[in-house]
Symmetry: D2
Subunit: 201 residues, 4 copies
């Protein structure tokens, strides 16, 4: 059976809950389609997160990598098209707040996702779940993890599909928040991610 490294993030910024955490816990060790899921939770930390996921990739030699992140405010499941060589944004959970910094001094400006993202979007819509391609993973941890994994795989000449998928807030998170934001139930989020995984070759 093939192996999928599926990562999520711990809570960050003002968000007390990170719904990617529940998804990763729910699927860890399970089989979905042709893949056995190896779940891993990443810290929201510009220094640690890229190192941790690189160690996971090198140690577990997965046949595919899907990283999940919360995009509070988005209304749909949005596979990311590209990661860019840039760190910028609010302080991470260790208080680091880079501005316009390169992730890799000599890396290319961007890396396209190598996941079958168009197929993933189409499959979700067919199943009645809102989904759309996203053209920006931002410049925070989500983009960093996506860029770092794609750079590592390219540099090490490892040909496995990898990329990032942003998800909406969960109802639980939105109900606990003072400002309104689009949200899905945890079970909808879980089912949508399961459908996405099944689109891997």
């Amino acid at each position: 059976m093939k192996k999928l490294l599926l990562t999520g993030f711990e809570p960050f910024l003002d968000f007390p809950i990170n719904p990617t955490e529940k998804i990763v816990h729910a699927l860890d060790g399970k089989a979905v389609g042709d893949y056995e899921i190896m779940g891993h939770l990443l810290p929201v930390d510009f220094n640690l997160a890229p190192k941790e996921i690189a160690e996971e990739v090198m140690a577990k030699k997965p046949d595919a990598v899907i990283s999940l992140g919360l995009a509070a405010g988005r209304t749909a499941i949005t596979p990311e098209r590209i990661a860019i060589n840039c760190q910028d944004g609010e302080p991470d959970n260790s208080g680091v707040a880079p501005e316009d910094k390169l992730i890799e001094e000599n890396g290319p400006d961007g890396y396209f996702s190598t996941l079958p993202i168009r197929r993933m979007v189409n499959r979700l819509k067919e199943a009645g779940y809102p989904s759309a391609m996203s053209n920006s993973a931002g410049t925070y941890l989500c983009n960093n993890v996506m860029y770092s994994v794609l750079h590592l795989l390219k540099s090490a000449n490892i040909e496995v599909p990898a990329g990032f998928v942003h998800i909406p807030a969960s109802h639980e998170l939105a109900a606990a928040s003072k400002k309104g934001m689009a949200s899905w139930s945890d079970s909808d989020l879980l089912e949508a991610i399961t459908l996405i995984i099944k689109e891997l070759d």
Copy 2:
């Protein structure tokens, strides 16, 4: 057993689906809390909708009236605080597009909902569903139906709780739409409305 008149609307404007329709069909004839549900679907028509719901109220003598409407773009279940004496907006399904028209020539400017709306909001949040009070039901059919029912009950001296609750789009509707909008699964929408009904005395 008490009787609840629960109304929804047919599809309107650009929306091929109206999720209130499914909720009304699913609950029609069922018992929820102390209430037996009498479901009724209204046309999106400034002339017909107020008449139809008035006839339902007079014929069935419900102990409570909850009208449901779609508020595409809203992220939460939003009980309306007030209906206002105004018809204005896009053409209805018969092509009627009033501007700044009174609903009732001699009616008051506004009527507060007589549903336990704060309790409804609190109950939903407690159950993990995003919910908030809304201060405007607009000036389209939703507001018109809410105003007309409250005016009828007041004029006829009938003391039963009545009001309007707006719901987000369903996933199905959002997935079929070209523009993104917040959405919930039909089952979440149904469960949330069931919880709301249980807050009726």
Copy 3:
């Protein structure tokens, strides 16, 4: 010459600047159309603001009352259609945060604006400024001031047009804010309000 009482608000919540303040200062003592402007700045305080504006109305006997408020996030000049008998929301500048409270124990649920709001909207659009009717002034200070003035005038049988107009953020305010919001230059805001005043009979 007729007299217009034009009110604005001091800064509130997270907003370091209130663009209504500049407008009121700029127009105070000036003549616009048939009106001499009497400007007055109100405190963001549920107890004080309604009293202060009532005193102004009774002392100065204006021929029209226009109150201005900031609606951060709105994209257009929005005359309000209705004020509702409700105080609810975030703490005011004195820390008072009412929930679902009536403004006037025996007041009606709502009062329509008595300003020529449709004409104001049309005039602004004709002049190339985005403008739209708003159906909710919220339940915070803006709504409270609008309700209190309309209730006072009605109770005292004083027939002068009165109402509320919400304006977008200024560029200055938006540039100083961490979150993006629509904004206009102070000079556009001032010109738009001047055009609105000229629509008074």
Copy 4:
């Protein structure tokens, strides 16, 4: 005196007006800072626009290239950080609607802007204009033109700064639109772009 190629676009999609057109006309032939402006209007056409701007660059040998585009809905002047090797989106003005197509078969996935974009953002904010970096120019004509110019300059080894700046709608455009959108006056847009040009070395 140095030469700046400043491009805008003709109207497209539902938008009857493109405010970049006015800016380009207003500045064409003028001197701003150390630069003489050579204005050029581009067609909203996936085949023609990249060719036209390439011809302009090769014929006029500008010392800098700034392309402007309308981002209806954005609230601030947003210099773009990156262009990506992708054509995707609504039909252009010739009815061409590519999906997930590469712009350059063998081009890199992305190109960072070579304009001093952080300085431009800071200068605008200092002057009281909302401004922010954008991490996505989309996948429509704006991104295509930015990518094509950066690819041309890189391929031809021409070291001149080049990039793209998205601007909000103008009041005129927003006032003519049925849906609300943030907008600025034409004179604010013009002044902001003038300030941006002055940040070129």
